[in-house]
Symmetry: C2
């Protein structure tokens, strides 16, 4: 039986610029009597990555101030509705309000997305692997809306140590025929799965995912593999 397990790791710490995410992750693991094992995926919310990287900026109290900040963060605006901006970001993500987050931050401030979440994931992974002497993957997540469907889901905005898209093309299905293209965005499915346990723990910044197929550990990045090039995009 294939099996997957996920744990949320909460911490009472309020993250600020310069904090060491690895130290806080290891402390949270220890506090919960948990340890990372070879092949685990560590999921980290972009909010704490942004905070430790100093991506907190002042913003005025008016809606117009917030919209101005969003528009300054966006490289392109795809749609406008009231104060909502459907944007493209410097990373190439298409999301609401350029990922500018006005919740979970001190009043009068906003949290911007990490400048390079793949790089953040790589740095976190390198430090963890060096400290623990095991192979790990790291995924940085954020909450995105979707076209055509209500509600938000968490998706990967950065990753390291894992193949972002698992290519099942060419494998045979249960009738022995070759499958059509099924390139599964596993980093996004893991991000959404992690949110199921994080949503139960408001404020928990870390989730451990145990049980992914070892061959999924690999290379690639979210910006390189998940972001669809505008030229190939039917909705941009």
């Amino acid at each position: 039986v294939s099996h997957l397990e996920l744990w949320a790791l909460a911490t009472p710490h309020r993250f600020v610029e310069g904090d060491d995410l690895v130290e806080h992750l290891l402390a949270a693991l220890s506090a919960h009597d948990q340890a990372l094992l070879d092949g685990d995926v560590v999921v980290v919310t972009s909010k704490v990555v942004s905070k430790v990287e100093g991506r907190v900026v002042p913003v005025g109290p008016d809606v117009s101030d917030k919209v101005a900040l969003v528009e300054s963060e966006a490289t392109r605006i795809l749609r406008r509705r009231g104060p909502l901006r459907l944007t493209e970001t410097t990373h190439g993500f298409v999301n609401a309000n350029a990922g500018v987050d006005l919740s979970n931050t001190e009043s009068g401030t906003a949290v911007l997305l990490p400048r390079d979440p793949d790089k953040s994931a790589r740095a976190l992974r390198a430090t963890l692997e060096h400290r623990l002497k095991i192979r790990l993957a790291v995924i940085v997540t954020d909450t995105f809306g979707r076209a055509w469907r209500n509600g938000v889901t968490d998706v990967a905005i950065g990753s390291a140590g894992i193949t972002p898209i698992l290519d099942l093309r060419g494998t045979t299905d249960d009738t022995g025929r070759v499958l059509e293209a099924t390139e599964v965005a596993v980093v996004d499915e893991i991000a959404g799965a992690a949110n199921l346990v994080l949503a139960k723990n408001a404020g928990a910044p870390f989730c451990i995912v145990r049980g992914i197929t070892p061959t999924w550990l690999g290379t690639g990045s979210v910006v390189e593999h998940i972001v669809r090039a505008p030229a190939g995009d039917l909705f941009r």
Copy 2:
């Protein structure tokens, strides 16, 4: 620590019209020495739901035959690229090729989406709850592409016994401020999580998800709550 566990349940059975999904699910559980517990979510792939409901149709060998079938299943075509059709279905889903599936079926046939996947989920749940005398949720999944991001993920196309969108608006965040809108599409996050274990077991039609917050058990349906009305949709 919040914890979530998922298991794939494979079966050697090739599903055909009229098969009893509940019998096969219970047999697969028994074969894997597993039992359903109160509060579990049972995830079923739409492919087997369609097959037992007789949604298998003949299709000619040419690309034009396949495109014709797709177009006959679609209520609206949003984009065309080569043989690909980005469609709206009778359910209101926006997906590729109206969900018509040419893999995992006998040559010369195609599998259509269930007519009413929410109803399929409700029927499956009612029978399981009656048989086992426990509360369960059921989610029927299919594989969809996304705008702006490469790769596919599994999403919910039908559900029963679970609140499809978890409304966290009005709850306070870790700084004590009221959170902005975060309506989490938990049925989609569960569907994607289930695919992580199903993808490791080509052909496994069932996944058990254990550990969701009991208050998530509730009412609602995918078509009613997840499908965004065209009038409120910025990309239709």
